[in-house]
C-alpha cells in the first residue's frame, strides 16, 4: 500500500531547509558568500530567505564550474551534501519506503552531475533546475528498469535535448525572472493547488491517479493546475 503524502509532509519551511541541508563546511562557504554580499549594503535584520537562496544558488553554480573545469572533489562534495538528501526525498515521494531505490537514484544522479558538469549552461537555468531535470529523467528510467511500470518505450530520448540552447542575454534574464516569480508566488498559492502540483511533480502521479487519490473529478485536478500556472505566470501563451 502506498502512503498518501500530504503537501505538508513533503515540503518544509525555509528555515528548516537551511538548517537541514547545509551541514558542515558547505554552510561555512555559504556564509562567506553571504557576508560578502552583506558588506555591500547594510541590512537591519541579517540576510532574508531570498538572499540566502540567492547566495546558495551562486555557491552551487561556482561548485559546478569547479567540477567542470578542475575536477574539484571538494566542490563536488558541496554538491553532494546539498543534493543527495533531496534526491533521496524525491525518490521516496514516488516510492515510499524503497530506500534501496532512493540510494540508487541519488547515486545515479550525482555521478551524472560529476560527468556532465561541463554541459551545464548557467544562462538557461539554475543549477537546481538542471539537477531537477536529471533527477526526473533518471527516476523515470529507474522505475522502468525496476519493473515498476512495464512499457516497450525507452524513455531515454523522450526528455533529451529539448531545451533551447540559447545564450541570448535577454533569454537568460527572462529565465531568472521566471525563477523569481515562481519562488515569490508559490507559497501564496492556495494549499489545494500546491497539493496537486506536489502530487504531479514530486509523487509523479498522472492527473488521473491524482484525481483518484484525492477523490476529485479529473476536471478539478486540471483546473487546479491551470489556475496555479496562471498565478505563477507560467504558460501565459495559451
Amino acid at each position: 500500500m502506498r502512503r498518501n503524502c500530504k503537501t505538508g509532509e513533503l515540503f518544509c519551511r525555509n528555515s528548516d531547509f537551511n538548517n537541514d541541508i547545509i551541514p558542515n563546511d558547505h554552510g561555512k562557504m555559504l556564509n562567506n558568500i553571504l557576508e560578502l554580499r552583506i558588506q555591500g549594503r547594510p541590512m537591519a535584520d541579517g540576510p532574508t530567505p531570498a538572499d540566502k537562496q540567492k547566495g546558495l544558488q551562486l555557491h552551487l553554480k561556482k561548485c559546478i564550474e569547479r567540477v567542470a573545469k578542475k575536477r574539484d572533489k571538494a566542490a563536488f562534495e558541496s554538491l553532494f551534501e546539498h543534493f543527495a538528501p533531496l534526491l533521496r526525498a524525491y525518490s521516496f515521494a514516488r516510492e515510499p519506503g524503497a530506500s534501496l531505490m532512493a540510494d540508487e537514484l541519488a547515486q545515479v544522479v550525482l555521478i551524472k552531475i560529476w560527468e556532465k558538469a561541463h554541459t551545464y549552461n548557467s544562462n538557461k537555468a539554475s543549477v537546481n533546475t538542471w539537477v531537477y531535470t536529471l533527477a526526473r529523467n533518471s527516476r523515470i528510467d529507474l522505475l522502468r528498469r525496476n519493473g515498476r511500470y512495464t512499457t516497450e518505450i525507452d524513455p531515454e530520448y523522450l526528455w533529451q535535448d529539448l531545451e533551447d540552447e540559447s545564450a541570448d542575454p535577454f533569454v537568460s534574464m527572462q529565465h531568472k525572472r521566471t525563477e523569481k516569480t515562481i519562488s515569490d508566488a508559490f507559497e501564496h498559492l492556495p494549499p489545494d493547488q500546491q497539493q496537486v502540483i506536489a502530487k504531479v511533480y514530486l509523487e509523479g502521479k498522472t492527473h488521473q491517479e491524482s484525481a483518484d487519490e484525492l477523490g476529485l473529478p479529473l476536471g478539478t485536478i486540471k483546473s487546479r493546475i491551470r489556475l496555479a500556472l496562471q498565478k505563477l505566470q507560467l504558460v501565459v501563451r495559451r
Binding site: A89, A106, H118, T129, V131, I153, L162, D164, R238
Partner: protein, 225 residues
C-alpha cells in the same frame, strides 16, 4: 514551420513532471522537437519542478552512499559521446524528418518500417503497446486519401509528422498535436499535395462506424494477420 495546435498546459505540466504514460510522452516529445514555443514553456515548467524539488524535506544520507559515490568518480574529463545510439543511418532518419524520440523504433527512414495495408489509401505501422495498454502506431495516408468514420472508446492523440490532414474541425499540419476524446466522431482526409504521416496513440481500441473495421486496430490485426 507553423505549428497551430499544441498540447494544453496541463499536459505539458505532466510532461515536465515526468508523470504521464510514456506513450503520451512520446507524442509530446515529438511535438516539442518541432515547436519552439512549447520548448520555451517547458523550460518554465521545469523551473516549477525545480522549485518544489528544492522545497522537499531532505532525507538523511548514509556514509556508505557517500563513499560509494566518491569511489566512482573518475578524475579525467569524460567526453560526452556524441550519440549514444548506434548511428546506423542517422542521415536517413534526419533527412526524412523522423523525430529523435522515434529513433528507437525506426532504423532508417519511414519507408524502412513494416507498413500494413489498411485500405487503398492507408497504411499502418505498429510501433508498440504501452504498459497501460495504449497502442502506438504510425499512419500513412496517400495524398487526398480518406480514412473511414470512426469513434473512440478512449482518447486518441495524433501528432502530424509529415504533410497535413483535415477533418470536420479543421486542417492539421506538420507539428500539430491533436487530441480526440471518446465522443468525437471524425473522418480525417489527407491534403491533396502530399502524403500524410501521423504518430497516433490510442488509449482504447477504436469503434468503427464505417466498414473498414480493421482500420487502426492493432488488436484485430493481431487476431487476423
Amino acid at each position: 514551420m507553423l505549428v497551430n495546435h499544441h498540447p494544453d498546459s496541463e499536459r505539458l505540466t505532466a510532461f515536465s513532471a515526468g508523470s504521464m504514460p510514456l506513450s503520451q510522452a512520446l507524442c509530446v516529445s515529438a511535438h516539442l522537437e518541432m515547436c519552439p514555443d512549447c520548448r520555451a514553456d517547458l523550460d518554465s515548467l521545469n523551473k516549477l519542478g525545480s522549485h518544489v524539488f528544492n522545497q522537499m524535506k531532505p532525507s538523511r544520507v548514509s556514509n556508505d552512499l557517500k563513499q560509494s559515490v566518491f569511489k566512482q568518480l573518475n578524475d579525467t574529463q569524460t567526453h560526452d559521446p556524441v550519440s549514444n545510439s548506434p548511428a546506423r543511418n542517422e542521415t536517413g532518419r534526419v533527412a526524412s524528418g523522423v523525430p529523435k524520440c522515434l529513433f528507437q523504433f525506426i532504423d532508417d527512414d519511414y519507408d524502412s518500417l513494416d507498413w500494413h495495408w489498411v485500405s487503398p489509401s492507408i497504411r499502418q505501422a505498429n510501433l508498440c503497446v504501452d504498459g497501460n495498454g495504449a497502442h502506438v502506431a504510425l499512419l500513412r495516408i496517400k495524398p487526398g486519401g480518406k480514412a473511414s468514420h470512426h469513434t473512440h472508446m478512449g482518447e486518441e492523440i495524433t501528432m502530424v509528422l509529415k504533410g497535413a490532414f483535415s477533418d470536420e474541425s479543421g486542417i492539421f499540419q506538420q507539428g500539430d498535436f491533436v487530441v480526440r476524446g471518446s465522443n468525437d466522431k471524425h473522418r480525417p482526409i489527407a491534403t491533396k499535395d502530399s502524403e500524410c504521416i501521423c504518430l497516433t496513440v490510442l488509449d482504447a481500441p477504436i469503434q468503427f462506424t464505417g466498414y473498414f473495421s480493421r482500420w487502426l486496430n492493432p488488436l484485430l490485426r493481431r487476431a487476423h494477420p
